[in-house]
Amino acid sequence: MAIAAFALKGLTPVSWAEPLAHKTKLPNGLTLIVAERNQLPTVHIQVTFGAGSTQVPANLAGLANLTAELLLQGTQRREAAEIRRAIESVGGSISANAESDYAQIHLAILKKDLALGLDILSDVLLNPIFSQQEMDRKVAQLKARLKRLEEEPKQVAQLAFARKLFGAHPYSLPPLGSLTGLSSISREDILRFYNSYYRPNNGTVIIVGRVSLEEMVSLFKSSLKGWEPGPSSKITHQAPPVLQSPVIEKIDRPITQANIIWGHQGIARSNPDFYALQVMNYILGGGGFVSRLMDTIRDNLGLTYGIYSFFDAREYPGAFQIALETKNENANQALSETLKEMRRFLEKGVSKTELEEAKAYLTGSFPFRMDTNAKLVRLLGAMEIYGLGMDFPQQYPRLINQVTAKEVLRVARAYLQPEKFLLVVVGNQQEIQLKERW
């Protein structure tokens, strides 16, 4: 009890009573969210579009990210090098990429250079030319990045896990795409994608810094003049397939550790059990050094440097994963101890202390999700993308605090699937000698 009360006290930031940010819509449909923060002479801007890799057909995997990255590679007024030089000359930075559920552009600039920043931002949004030459450059680079991922055992395991788990769903590939996808994309595909998705009514601008809503509305109205809304092009998908039996994927690499991912389908961000699962997962393997998995596998047994479990809650159900690395020879032992912890959890649930501490952390740590302007931009972005509402920070403590031990056990039993899992192990298979049954 005392703990929960303390944590709630800790939650109160200086200006808690005031809204976190102001939101409005421009006549062309663009959503504008502004959080005035005056401590530093800086402005962080994030523009997001519903233009992630879920909006792309499988044969063009990589199109969403390629389009986003190419926004910065030349406009009618500025060559690619000129865009970079202009922003960096005043110490700013600009980047663009796509994730599975959205695409985003980030701009960070000193307040005194905001006019320049907005001029460039509106230019890359409205007038990108997607030249064939820049496209070829970018495709070669993205292919090399995919190749580079093959060098990182963790990435190899993640790529294999997604491929096996999500089947035909776009979540099966990373936003970077695939080699064949990148090879198949034409300039026309990019122009079509850009024209359909990069529309004001499909976008949100989030601004945090030494600015006011009124100031930003008038600046954006003038700098984005001529940007017309378009019809919605949103593609929807079936939910990803659910595993029917255990699947084991072994990938041989000449390395010293087994990189293990055990898991299955998780939940969508809109699932109302999200909050109960956050509490559940904190206790199981999401709570860092405090979690049961870390306590057993690392602290008591010394089998790993880190073990984590998490629900990747996105627009569609993402994965639930437990991930760890251990010396090849210890793979079987580490995995069997891990699964033992999970079964114990499913049998006995959680103690009152564990529950209270989990809730205290989840609510009490919320201020750290917005204690810098850079973090606040990301939080506001996630709130908007997943429709959490502008009062999400105020609602969050209630959503967490209403979770009971019974709820935790219920969601654990509903969402953890010890019999229908996907197990990916990357490492030296000769040394690992992975058991066939789990």
Binding site: K9, T42, G92, P174, I255, G288, D299, E357
Partner: protein, 457 residues
């Protein structure tokens, strides 16, 4: 004995950002409050009331550089053991205590220091102070916990270095570049050294270096010095004074020859080339010019190396020029490039040299210099966004000398001239002995599975 004598200094730290107050309209004025307890602990307090949170950082002036020969990894292992409990606090209580107040705690070790931190709501500051003051001298680690934690750090080494070809190359280059200085061994330690470390080695190390006179306590955030200082006295003031600190002074002899190492790794995918030159660090006056040089060469996408090698020529996937501005002893200026597919390591290496020579053939223009300075200054302003970062910057300067060095940073950067940039090139790079590391990918892995497409077995 426990009486506290405070030497209180009030210093006003004024940054005139971008050198032009009128243009920026505002200067950022900050007050760092400095104190020293009777037991020798240095204290730095900096109020920043953006949010009701605080960062508490204890900087111990001990890192891998202080490890006895043959005991590499000891400083880092000690960092891990600091979470294993004291007489008063149970072994699993650190993160549990901090997290139940919504905070986060962790630690890190480098060549020069070991740092423990808690970020939490400012009204729970005392909890962190108590934990940190207690474990400064009261650690209790039995044989079993010692050997379990040794296994954990060995797993960490496998994860971070052994199975990462470019990290392995980096270690090999550093250990080749230094002949006698302890910088030659890695922070995570050699596996064989880790294997042989005993509990007694840890205890001796801990008792020597973990003491108030060898530490800096930094608190940044939503604080009032009038209320925080008594709390610090109440907690850290009780920590007994330690034994005299050993003097650890090292001086590396000049490198007499170019040294080259070649690392073949089957799982590597793309060649990687790493060049290392010996350079001085701050407060050496040349540090500022070297910092600007690294910015012009590889800071941002419009920098020389990135613009040419990554963008125009598409020879590299990634390039960099890393200069350690802050280091206790002189360290290394690194230039590196990861090749694009189809580029040989020889081509990449030659291209890097060519670009370094270019420094003299077409010296940095006024525009390049101005851009680099603006990037550094703006980067400094952006780094103020996070109280954790602000604490880190103060702690790092203080543990290497004095935080007031920070005041010289931007003014030193602003003064760098074209002549300075040419001079440091001639002094430390041109024709100087260097260490070259080449990573050569090889084997069958390459052809097997490519990302996201074929499944391999």
């Amino acid at each position: 004995m426990n009486r506290i004598c405070l030497i209180v200094l009030f210093i006003s730290l004024v940054f005139f950002l971008l050198g032009s107050v009128s243009r920026l309209q505002a200067a950022q004025r900050e007050e760092v409050f400095e104190a020293r307890l009777a037991n020798g602990l240095q204290v730095l307090l900096l109020p920043d009331r953006k949010a009701a949170v605080v960062t508490i950082q204890v900087w111990y002036k001990v890192g891998s550089r202080n490890e006895p020969y043959g005991q590499s990894g000891l400083a880092h292992l000690t960092e891990h053991l600091m979470f294993r409990g004291t007489e008063k606090v149970g072994p699993k209580q650190y993160s549990r205590t901090i997290q139940k107040y919504g905070g986060q705690d962790n630690a890190f070790t480098s060549r020069d220091h070991t740092v423990y931190f808690e970020n939490l709501a400012s009204d729970h500051l005392m909890v962190a102070l108590e934990l940190e003051a207690d474990r400064m001298t009261a650690l209790k680690v039995d044989e079993e916990k010692f050997s379990t934690e040794k296994k954990v750090v060995q797993e960490e080494r496998r994860l971070r270095v052994k199975d990462d070809p470019s990290a392995t190359l980096f270690e090999e280059v550093v250990s080749t570049a230094f002949k006698s200085h302890p910088y030659r061994w890695p922070v995570t330690g050699w596996m064989e050294d880790l294997e042989r470390l005993r509990r007694e080695d840890f205890l001796a190390f801990y008792r020597t270096y973990y003491q108030p006179a060898n530490a800096v306590l930094v608190v940044v955030g939503d604080i009032e010095k009038e209320t925080v200082l008594p709390l610090i006295k109440k907690t850290f003031g009780r920590v007994p004074q330690g034994p005299p600190l050993p003097v650890s002074e090292f001086k590396e002899s000049p490198q007499e020859a170019d040294k080259r190492i070649t690392l073949h790794r089957r799982e590597a995918q793309l060649p990687y080339v790493l060049l290392a030159y010996h350079v001085p660090s701050f407060p050496h006056p040349d540090a500022f010019a070297l910092e600007v040089m690294s910015q012009i060469l590889a800071g941002g996408k419009s920098s020389r190396l990135v613009q040419k090698m990554v963008y125009q020529e598409q020879k590299a996937l990634d390039v960099g020029a890393d200069y350690p501005f802050l280091s206790r002893d002189p360290f290394l200026f690194f230039f590196y490039a990861q090749a694009m597919p189809g580029q040989s390591p020889e081509q990449i290496e030659a291209r890097l040299y060519q670009e370094l020579e270019e420094w003299k053939k077409s010296p940095p223009t006024q525009e390049e210099i101005k851009k680099a300075k603006n990037q550094i200054e703006a980067g400094f302003i952006f780094s103020q966004d996070s109280i954790f970062n602000r604490g880190k910057i103060l702690g790092k300067y203080q543990s290497l000398g004095t935080w007031k060095g920070l005041e010289e940073y931007l003014s030193g950067i602003r003064k760098v001239s074209r002549e300075d940039l040419l001079r440091v090139y001639q002094t430390y790079i041109e024709g100087k002995k260097k260490t070259i590391g080449i990573l050569i990918p090889g084997g069958s892995v390459q052809e097997k599975g490519l990302s996201g497409e074929k499944s391999s077995k």
